[in-house]
Amino acid sequence: MDWQTHCLDEVSMSTPTMGSETVGHLSDEAVPGDEPPAKKRQVSGKSPIQIALGRLRKDKVAMTCFTIVMFFVLIAIFADVLQNLFDVTTEPGNPAQQLNPMNELLPYKGPPSGGFDPEHPFGVAPKTATDNLAVWLAGCRTSLLIASLATLVASIIGITLGLIAGFVGGVVDKAISFVIDFFLTVPFLLMALTLAPIINQRFALKPDLYEKAQLWSLVAILAFFGWMGVARLVRGEVLSLREREFILSARVIGMPTTRIMIKELLPNLVAPIVVAVSLMLPAFIAAEAGLAYLGIGITQGNSWGQTILRASNYYDDYALYFWEPLLGIVILVVALNLLGDAIRDAVDPKTRR
């Protein structure tokens, strides 16, 4: 350090044309100890998570997205209450009274041609006369419920397998890595498409279980093909953490392996896991709606993807019907993605350059 300062001083002396800013900056850096002790700020202890949260709070985009996401989450939680409040149900309406058979079964009242109908703020669906708002609210709940459950299950599988593979190593690591590579090779969409109807069909004869079975089979499929990213990430982090002193010392004092994993390793993995999970959620929402759009997955109709599939023929005659679920997905997924990206930047500021 001293040698450098010395050199720099010589350089600055011998080359007076050099920008003063550069030299001043460098020499400041070289002698940090010169600062008077009275000027030193009170250092307050902050965990990395607190620092990241602080950065996140100052990020306007992140806070806007967070508000939007919370708005959707509240809608999903209180979907029932809101349905009662607007006095709408997801049951089919009365097509004979509400729909115009002369005009492709489009509704008489309300959009697209009859102005605003206070009884059905989002209009009613063609053919079935089901209220759009009720379906939309239920779709929001389906979407978020499935995606959150899938995220939870996938991250638990991923973290557990990643921890074990990275920490135990050897044959176990090889086996788990092979499984990870195997699942990455499986064509996800095709397998999901094959699996969903098979699982659903098993419960088709038990109507009381059917809806629950559909939901859980979707969660299982999404989680089953979505855990590899987290597992790989965690494994990689653990591989480097394993060699650090605090882990070695924990081993030396005879801490059991599971305890090392949970108490020593896991807290150090919170940041990358939070980032991975926050980007997993929008991916699952998009995947759920995508499967529903392909006609497989939630087939009861209370899913945004399913509504888009049915509405895509009405893009012209009844654009509102088509755009309602579409905007729901797009806004929610974009907000979640941007939030996830902001979280990544907040946790690791090096990513934004």
Partner: protein
């Protein structure tokens, strides 16, 4: 090197075999007999238990699963004779079975549909690179400027929209609503029939795939370029007096491209394995749409074939990526 390739190919074989067993078992242990859809379609929906039993017997579904899988696997390599009801069909190697829905041999269909999927995937993937890399380089060179910020944030938003909605909107508004000439006339015509129609028909699917996929490449290229341009050897190259373009492209981009190639290989594999959404939305009769329809119709042989095809493509593309990696980056040693 040779030993490495052999080792990887063997591991790939294991993956492919496991996937085909998985699909086979899924249908076998599914809630209904795999012979039922065949029986329903052959008897016009009047599938009685006796008829079903007959079909099960002739299709071999009353044998143990491993025996049938053995026959299936053998058929892939040496061919076999298939019996469906009273029909007898010679199925030469590589025999992937017989589609009861289309009344065709699965392998013939696969070959027939491959050009469409390869066209869609190839064009889309080419646009990933043609759009993604130059934009990424441009953004990295103007790092911190307004152009960079606008590019990065707008691409972030675009890539956040689910792809199938992006493609659906493009199709609806370019083809159906505004009927934009050339761009709007989407649909697949074989290249050998009419190259001009082939290109114009696929233009919109390509643009959708390309515009959507290139955002990721822009991000990778930009990140890698920013890192590369701050290296010492770039400063050396600049100090030597090399022209800016040589510094950026010959020195900077070469090292920045290494991670991009990895992602590209995997993406190309995913696309070739089946562009399901693109084919469904633009109604292109490729492998993805074929697989999707087969799933709906419960056409076991076709589903198994598409899964097998997808797995083979993925295994090969992963291997090729690793080989190219070692050429691009001399520090990487394969072992």
């Amino acid at each position: 090197m040779f030993a490495y390739i052999v080792k990887r190919l063997l591991a790939g074989m294991v993956v492919v075999v496991l996937i085909s067993i998985a699909v086979f078992a899924l249908f076998w242990y599914g809630p209904e007999s795999p012979a039922r859809p065949v029986c329903e379609s052959k008897t016009g929906g009047k599938c009685t238990p006796e008829r079903l039993a007959n079909f099960e017997k002739s299709l071999g579904y009353d044998n143990p699963i491993y025996e049938e899988y053995g026959k299936y696997a053998k058929g892939v390599f040496v061919g076999r004779e298939l019996t469906i009801g009273t029909q007898r069909i010679d199925c030469d190697a590589p025999c992937l079975g017989y589609s009861f829905k289309n009344n065709t041999l699965v392998w013939d269909d696969l070959v027939k549909r491959m050009p469409a999927t390869v066209s869609v995937a190839g064009g889309g993937a080419l646009l990933y690179l043609l759009l993604g890399i130059p934009i990424g380089v441009a953004a990295a060179r103007r790092r911190g400027s307004l152009t960079d910020k606008v590019l990065v944030s707008s691409f972030l938003v675009v890539s956040s929209v689910p792809y199938y909605l992006f493609a659906l909107l493009a199709w609806i508004y370019c083809t159906l609503v505004f009927e934009i000439p050339v761009l709007g006339s989407s649909g697949y015509t074989p290249f050998t029939d009419n190259p001009w129609k082939w290109a114009t028909g696929l233009l919109l699917p390509w643009l959708c795939l390309g515009l959507f996929g290139c955002t990721q490449y822009t991000r990778y290229t930009r990140g890698a370029m920013v890192e590369a341009l701050s290296e010492d050897y770039i400063r050396t190259a600049k100090a030597k007096g090399l022209p800016a373009s040589t510094v950026v492209y010959r020195h900077g981009l070469r090292s920045a491209l290494v991670p991009v190639v990895t992602v590209f290989g995997i993406d190309l594999g995913v696309l070739l394995a089946g562009t399901i959404f693109t084919e469904k939305i633009f109604e292109i009769q490729g492998i993805g749409l074929w697989g999707l329809n087969a799933v709906v119709a419960k056409d076991l042989q076709v589903v198994a074939a598409t899964a097998l095809f997808g797995a083979v493509v993925m295994v090969i593309s992963n291997l090729v990526v690793d080989l190219i990696y070692s050429v691009l980056d001399p520090r990487v040693r394969l072992s």
